[in-house]
């Protein structure tokens, strides 16, 4: 019996808990991408950099708070700085829309043009980040690092294997739940939120119903900026802030949005977790788990790993390509080809 528990603890420690955290981060990122796609109808290649720039604003505010001696107890100070970062990111996104994207909306440009334009925005954001904060890693998590340490767990339960839960992981999941609940409440229960869904569903009919397109676009950018900042901050707290890593995250996020059904908020959440858990499950070395579960004689020598951990990102790309070929509308049938 204790063998099974030990095996479960290993899985929990290396796959399930990290998966929940990573999945939450991807889900929030995918939610932002899917919103832009639903309302503005293009794939925003600059979303990764938006996450990075939002996080950068939060980091700057965090440093300000820290140097003023303000802390948040066991929780990361960054959470206090979050509203400031979100506000700055919103301003940036609205300005970008006004200066860059609005012109193409008036032109009714095709999706590809928007994509290339968003690549330009990506360059600019990336350059801005390097200019302001530099290309080096920044660690800005503070407060209590672990809620439960491996050793404490072993002592408490008497098992061989320990389960460590970091504060940032719990913060991630809780923040994600709150944010997602807020987004869904907004979209399903408020007049403005419903008007956004209507606009995404049938633009002409929405215009006919008197829904103001500029207002819908503005709210979409506000929400996306906020979501990007939150997602980026949570990721940065959990790991660290490397300006370049957010470009790499772009593909798992797109994968999550598309796999779940692009344009569909529920799909974005589901997709985030599907991608996160797939990455972890496929690249995990099951050797110790298997050792616990099978008789001694059958214990494996090899790592029992499908793909090496180096290929973690590749897993999400493979899933994405498969979904694009087999069911492009995704699990929850978002907007299709």
């Amino acid at each position: 019996m204790s063998d099974v528990l030990n095996a479960l603890v290993i899985l929990a420690n290396f796959v399930i808990v990290p998966g929940l955290a990573y999945g939450s981060q991807l889900a929030l990122g995918a939610l932002g991408v899917t919103l832009v796609y639903a309302v503005l109808r293009f794939s925003n290649f600059a979303h990764g950099e938006t996450m990075a720039i939002g996080t950068m604003f939060v980091i700057l505010a965090t440093w300000g708070l820290q140097s003023a001696g303000i802390g948040f107890g066991p929780l990361p100070t960054a959470l206090l700085a979050l509203p400031v970062g979100i506000f700055a990111a919103i301003i940036l996104c609205l300005v970008t829309d006004r200066l860059v994207y609005r012109y193409y909306r008036r032109q009714k440009a095709s999706g590809v043009i928007y994509l290339i334009v968003s690549v330009g925005v990506m360059f600019v954001y990336n350059g801005l980040i390097r200019f302001v904060i530099g290309p080096r890693d920044q660690v800005f998590a503070d407060g209590q690092r672990f809620i439960i340490k491996a050793r404490e767990f072993k002592n408490m339960t008497g098992l061989n294997e320990g389960l460590a839960i970091k504060t940032t992981q719990v913060v991630t999941v809780v923040t994600a739940i709150i944010t997602v609940a807020a987004v869904f409440w907004f979209l399903n229960r408020t007049r403005t939120g419903k008007s956004m869904r209507a606009f995404s569903d049938n633009e002409d009919l929405a215009l006919l119903s008197g829904i103001n397109p500029d207002r819908v676009v503005m709210i979409a950018w506000i929400m996306t900026a906020a979501l990007a900042t939150i997602a980026g901050t949570l990721y940065g707290l959990d790991k660290s802030f490397k300006p370049f890593v957010y470009l790499q995250l772009l593909l798992p996020i797109f994968a999550a949005a598309i796999v779940g059904g692009v344009g569909n908020p529920i799909g974005a959440i589901a997709g985030g977790f599907v991608i996160a858990f797939s990455e972890l499950f496929v690249t995990f070395a099951y050797k110790r788990v298997v050792t616990y579960l099978v008789p001694e004689s059958m214990a494996p020598d090899t790592l029992v790993q499908f793909l090496s951990t180096d290929y973690k990102f590749a897993v999400s790309f493979v899933i994405l390509v498969i979904v694009l070929l087999v069911k492009p509308t995704g699990i929850f049938s978002g907007k299709s080809l």
Partner: protein, 437 residues
């Protein structure tokens, strides 16, 4: 013909820029820049063939360039005997197993069309089983190979042939990969094609980074042989020494410049050949048909043109050109270094080249390649100079001055992005617009 005069003058201006760099910095820098510009121009040509002829938005250039580089390495590096003995058979067996798995999977897929949902499960199981078998065969072989002479090799090595063949082979590798990628993803709509190609190119890079038995992974393969003389040999040759002193140049400079000029010569030949072939293709009936398809796909399909296979042709050709350029790049670098293939520098920067130069126009792509690469590299010295000039009034250790100067190097990303946005908005047809025929 005012258009031609305008285009010529732009190229002349470009040449002038190289000369300026030669005088203000050094001829060495200028020539190094020239060589990279030529390679970039060829890559931009490849992308333009896909975008301009067929409207295909391929964001996977990085992968094809890397495959070209792989070819350069594999063709030119001598084989590592010990490794082949240790694991060659296993690798071969593993590849056979992989091919059989793919074949079995495809067979299973085709034969079970009527089973509905079960089809997915069955095919998945077959592929999974085949994968496990392949790993069982290939893993021990990989370990054995990587254990041979870990510090100096730890991989299979190559064919040990002259590296210049690899340029052609690079094109073939890229073409082969493009065939697979195209078959899979060309049915997708443009946004999705972009994402799919980006994803696939990332997978290729990962493969090259981590399959050390093939590529030495991040440990790199250095010291690749060259198609041009080595500086050391030149410096020791008496004829060269007398020639250099006759020109009143230091032997170092002379050797360095000569090597670069040799590369420049070779690269220019390739560029001109590719450009010539591209222009011929553009004006041919094939080219006209391609553009007809691009401009109105539904009409073309209604007229009986096989749109998908045409798209595949263009995709393969464009990617092959990128592969050739990738091989040339690795030749110039003298080493194959998988981590250097970053999407920003390869894929997106080349797209900037194509857009700025004039999408749909081959000469435009070439000019774009030159212009963008030039400013990408020169942005740092120019930026430093600019920052220095702007902050000349401040104290030397003022925090803003230091920060600005330190960030000057990063200006190029910002500048490139701004240039792209400005061109897309105010001059969307680029420097040399497409000529409507």
């Amino acid at each position: 013909m005012s258009i031609s005069v305008r285009n010529l003058s732009m190229f002349a201006l470009m040449a002038l820029l190289f000369v300026t760099v030669g005088f203000m910095q050094s001829w060495d820098v200028s020539l190094a820049l020239l060589n990279m510009c030529i390679i970039s121009a060829i890559m931009a040509l490849g992308v333009n063939i896909q975008w301009g002829y067929a409207g295909l938005f391929n964001v996977g250039t990085m992968g094809f360039a890397a495959l070209g580089g792989l070819a350069a390495m594999l063709v030119s590096v001598p084989p590592v005997q010990g490794a082949w003995q240790a694991g060659g058979a296993g690798i071969f067996g593993g590849l056979v197993a992989a091919l059989l798995t793919v074949a079995a999977g495809v067979y299973m897929w085709r034969r079970t069309a009527q089973l509905g949902r079960r089809r997915y499960w069955l095919t998945g199981l077959v592929v999974l089983a085949g994968y496990v078998v392949m790993r069982a065969i290939i893993d021990p072989a990989v370990e054995a190979i990587e254990a041979v002479d870990v510090t100096t090799s730890g991989f299979l090595g190559g064919l040990g042939m002259p590296i210049i063949f690899s340029w052609f082979v690079g094109g073939l590798f890229a073409a082969g990969a493009a065939w697979v990628v195209g078959k899979i993803s060309l049915g997708l709509r443009s946004d999705y094609l972009a994402i799919a190609t980006l994803g696939i190119s990332e997978i290729i890079i990962y493969f090259l980074k981590f399959e050390e038995w093939l590529t030495r992974g991040v440990k790199n393969v250095t010291g690749l042989p060259r198609p041009v003389p080595y500086e050391i040999d030149l410096k020791q040759s008496p004829t060269f020494q007398s020639w250099a002193s006759g020109l009143d140049m230091s032997i170092e400079t002379a050797a360095s410049l000569t090597v670069k000029l040799c590369y420049a010569g070779l690269f220019s030949v390739v560029l001109l050949v590719v450009l010539y072939l591209s222009e011929v293709a553009l004006r041919s009936p094939w080219g006209r048909m391609m553009r007809a398809i691009r401009d109105n796909e539904t009409a073309a399909a209604a007229m009986g043109k096989n749109v998908t296979s045409r798209h595949l042709q263009v995709f393969i050709l464009g990617s092959a050109v990128v592969g050739i350029a990738g091989a040339m790049l690795t030749t110039l670098d003298g080493q194959f270094n998988p981590p250097t293939y970053q999407p920003l520098r390869f894929t997106f920067l080349i797209w900037v080249m194509v857009i700025i130069g004039g999408s749909g126009n081959n000469w435009g792509a070439v000019l774009g390649g030159f212009v963008i690469w030039f400013f990408w590299i020169e942005a740092e010295p120019i930026g430093l100079w600019l920052m220095g000039a702007l902050t000349s009034g401040m104290a030397p250790d003022h925090w803003l001055r230091l920060h600005l100067i330190e960030s000057a190097a990063h200006m190029r990303l910002l500048t490139m992005g701004l240039v792209l946005l400005l061109v897309l908005r105010f001059a969307p047809r680029g420097l040399i617009p497409e000529v409507k025929r």
